[in-house]
Symmetry: D2
Subunit: 389 residues, 4 copies
């Protein structure tokens, strides 16, 4: 067999054309709206977490002191310096600190946001003035009809907007209270998450432990399942595009293939992927690919022997369960049958050391982490971490 | 029967968000390319004929003296003041003055153009630097990969570009010759078109006569057929969006329904529509609509008792004809059976007076004009009007 | 241009393969069901009107004396000898003599019937034993689940079934009353339909007059519209496949193209087509085809200057009308503009002579017949012709 | 959680309607064609292997002594008593004993066959009279236009045909030679297949060993891959519908899910499934299902660490390979990670004892069998087993 010549001209990779910023008069109009607002809030979407846009956003946050929330897809867009004004992420259930800011707001400024990321009917009361900043005009729907649109290069537009803002916002007492409480919950999780000693493990204990290994040098890819909500809400990130996570139309089984793809783009950067046991088995034959490529990937499986999120919805809709229990599987042996390194967390105390050992592996590794989903119903209500921690 | 209440909230009509112009540095880059070019040319597309864009274009043409050609869809974008540098429209067959300018060019600047309007493989030799000015990034294909893109509001971008141009182009001898010859052909048609005395009528005689009635106060809608090419090439227009004409994917039978729609939008403005006899019968029941609405429409039918353009393609592909001959029809009686006013041109001399009489009708009128398509094969070659006139 | 050689092998036309009759034991089972039934009834569908099947059906009707009804598509399947036991056609509204037989029945035998012809939920009470005789197994749905199916060649199956029937049915008093009343209405129409003297004309007057010209030598094609119901119910036919009529999914505008197709199949046989004025205009450019081919077709237009059947449904659903009125048109002039012969009925008395004159034309002719649809609402109720005639 | 009431009427399960046999005269016509033919042959398709049809076929073979071949889908239709006249299966490559019979034939009788099973252009020379026996008329295409069709119940038609045959065929010398040689190859494989001692194993050695475990009490499901061809040609079966195998449009990964389905239908019957290593990994998470259900399934994996059939086609079309090598995998450990029993064949001698041990497992088991595909190119030519054995 012979390698044939490459035929067919490959189109040249031209650099993406740069757009201009939005028109000056429209930017000035938004600056005035900001100056007049009592409770303005930024809602960040996927495009806000592009590297250039995120850098411009940091300057705008610094200049304006306006509080900020984001969809799951904008994870990492807010940097550590502005963290005290970040109310965390919103999505799926309308019950987060960010949701309370949106309800309170008289001005909502969406940056790089698309309605598919978090359904507008969930968060838009219609009482606030709505501003849309993006490269495209708003995809209008009944609950998303912006009053002003700044269409153009996002970074350019944000930079010009920052220049037009002449004083920092003094938070209203209500907004300050929301952000303060959010900050309090973060500290709770940070200080006491590691003390949740039940086994199988509490989701917050696992999130807390993951925070230690997902530092800025690591990329994280997130599958779909109940664990997805715990991570989307409580795992923070300060690097734009550090976290690959979806919401609108995500498929189970994407995390491991995404991880391989992310590693191929930048083989110097370790990738952590995370899924449930159900989602893992839907594409886990790709471990063969990871082993063959010697990809530097650590895959975490939250193991509950079931399709937990499907079960929650079956109970809600049909008041009975069908086809959601499976296993048990020996995921350590499974991983090793492919030639990957396998780990299983076998006690609460073993969680953190096992994760550290698995991070030290150079090449594909898999860790099975038993999880206890008993507190999942709290996710749908006004969960305050003090209820748990 | 009772008019029920209107239910359902209607979304408010917000004004379209304004984009900013393209970034200054990119505009400067294009200005430099223009300063260096020996044979630059503008290629206008559909978006260039929007009113604001067309006005900005006129200033740019005035400032730069760069020659210009356009697709059929940009009809009317070039005004009378710049007419001497307009090489006419291009499309379908690569054999027009505009095509020769494009072949000669070392810099092609596409304004508001989409590849669907005129296939790039037909006109892009790949030898010229390619600039794309539009509201959207280029839809790249193998033969359309711009070197520079100015993405943003077209009028804003053209205005900034015009400000950056500091001297007018001196035409190269070759470009001057192409434009001069084009101008010569226009004069030929103007002076001598009315003397083509054969009956049925020569297409150029009909185009020449139509020019007299399609003044700036009139909107023209054009169906698909052989007559479409004669009109697209030789009927000029100085008002943007005066002519509704397609190219990429046009359907037979659209002209009369288009005309009714255009009249409904602005009932003060007379509409002329034109089709072949085959296309006319595909939607001519809409005469009933025109009569019922008392729409001020004049429909011209070029009558040759056949599907001439289909016949041309059948001969080319199969060397025989099938199913392309029909009629004759009495279109005057046909129109009158609907209650419209009907006319039939019955001699060469009767053409102009009949058209004038039909234009004077207030309400729907139809004129049947026998046409002799014997010279159609010339359309595919390097037709020079001196061959005919 | 040259006629090229015919290339590509044309598949040989083989005669359609013959199926065998249904199995003997299944046929015997149906014969027993017939012997036991008090009120059996045949429901004929499209396949019953194939020539061979229709001939076998005549023998079965003669042998069994079982009453019979049919869908519109089986028009002509029952011959004159068995006409006294034919309750007429059923479809659309469940209010015909045939519907009353089906309600009364303890045994329904469907022959060559498909559920698309007349929705089973409309006629199947579920109280009768259901037999399906066809070339295909039943397309089962909730309201059409036969107890016995005779799958195989229909003529062969009917012949075997006829041989197994040993005595003729004595009609129950209720069945006899239904058939007697139906016969009475037919006679009413026959005797007195011609005396309906209003102008525009009553639908029954037109049906009555059409009956005189649609003799066995003529094929009739029927468009969709209000006139369709009057014809489907009251115009009888004794020749299988004499009438082309649909029900399940018919499109407006089919009658004239169908007529041209039917005439091409057998140019010796005159074709009458009939449509409303709305349906006519949707495909009336085909008059050009008819004239060019010199097709021997008479097209009747029931003229009411509206989309009457659409109007009925708009009123029912929305209690108001929109976009259903049009015209008037001069259909005589319209036809003549194509070179066809045109007629317009201008008084009640002129109906029959005008139809006769138009039938005498050799080639395409069109007759416009003004119709008064004031009695249409009666079609939806238990219309008895004595209410009108 | 509560089991809700079952709502919605379930349609009653009626027994499938029985068709009659084909018409007597058509059957007689085929009987005459048989009486006149020198080299008749039966080609069996999927429907021939339905239980009733297969039983009728056995009688017809006994009565007529006509040689027979079949598509892969008809596996098991020919019983042991008629085995000497069975030329084996045909499909994919036109180079089998059955193909030679079809080339020689002056009469080909297709029973329950559809063109999708084995493309007619591959086997139909057009020289033989063609008969089609099925429940449906032939789906005609350019190379499949039967001269006679017997449409009706297949078993009923075959029984009537058998009654009309009055003497047994005397094989022509050519047909006898083809069948004799085929028989010779079977004996070769039977006697000497077990002596192929290379390791990884020769495909014929594996087929030979599988023949011992796939007795009449076992169902076999076959995935797609190179092994598929070796099995389709050389593994025989005497029970209709014993083997689930496709050809026209088969998907990789079906064997294990098919096996679970087949076992659920009849849990008393052991199921053996077989796939390549590539196909196995595409659906092998279903081992979890098999373990949870305690399904009595033995899955065999032919292991070559590659997509062999894809590689063959890549080489043929592109003269190079891409993306077809993977592994190695430890399939024994893999199976055991699910809780199934795992086996790996580790020497040529171990093959048969390992298969026997795995068959003795009550519940899911997996056997990895290394295969050496070096002789695959012979499959495309006129392979005679004496070249190998």
């Amino acid at each position: 067999m012979v390698d044939g010549p490459v035929t067919g001209k490959v189109l040249p990779a031209s650099s993406a054309p740069q757009m201009g910023a939005a028109p000056d008069e429209a930017i000035n109009q938004v600056a005035k709206l900001i100056a007049q607002a009592k409770n303005p809030v930024f809602l960040l979407g996927l495009m806000a977490s592009q590297t250039e846009n995120s850098a411009a956003l940091h300057r705008l946050l610094e200049t304006s002191h306006i509080p900020v929330t984001s969809t799951y897809q904008a994870a990492g867009a807010v940097n550590q310096d502005n963290f005290s004004r970040f109310a965390g992420r919103v999505g799926l259930f309308n019950n987060q600190a960010g949701d309370r800011l949106l309800q309170l707001a008289d001005l909502v400024i969406c940056i790089g946001y698309s309605p598919v990321e978090y359904e507008p009917a969930m968060w838009n009361s219609g009482n606030a003035t709505l501003v849309h900043i993006d490269v495209l005009p708003a995809y209008e729907e009944r609950n998303y009809t912006p009053d002003v649109e700044l269409v153009g290069d996002i970074a350019g537009t944000l930079n010009k907007l920052a220049q037009n803002i002449d004083h920092r916002l003094v938070l209203s007492p209500q907004a300050a209270e929301i952000l303060h409480d959010r900050q309090h919950q973060r500290e709770l999780l940070d200080r006491r998450g590691a003390q949740l000693n039940q086994f199988a493990l509490h989701p917050l204990r696992i999130v807390r432990a993951m925070q230690d290994i997902v530092n800025s040098d690591v990329t994280l890819t997130v599958d779909m399942g109940s664990f997805h909500i715990w991570i989307a809400r409580y795992l923070y990130s300060f690097r734009a595009r550090q976290v690959m996570i979806s919401n609108g139309q995500q498929t189970m089984g994407v995390a491991l293939p995404w991880a391989i793809g992310a590693w191929l783009v930048n083989p110097q950067r370790k990738v952590v992927s995370v899924s449930g046991d159900g989602g893992f088995l839907q594409s886990s034959m790709e471990l063969e690919t990871a082993v063959r490529l010697k990809a530097n990937i650590l895959h975490l499986i939250w193991v509950d022997n079931g399709y937990n999120m499907v079960a929650i919805q079956e109970e809600k809709k049909y008041q009975r369960l069908s086809g959601v229990e499976f296993g048990p599987m020996d995921f350590k042996a499974y991983a090793e049958s492919f030639g990957a390194k396998g780990f299983a967390v076998e006690s609460a105390d073993a969680l953190e050391p096992t994760l550290r050992a698995a991070m030290d592996v150079d090449g594909p590794a898999v860790v099975a982490i038993p999880v206890d989903y008993r507190d999942n119903p709290l996710l749908m209500g006004q969960l305050h971490l003090s209820q748990i921690l």
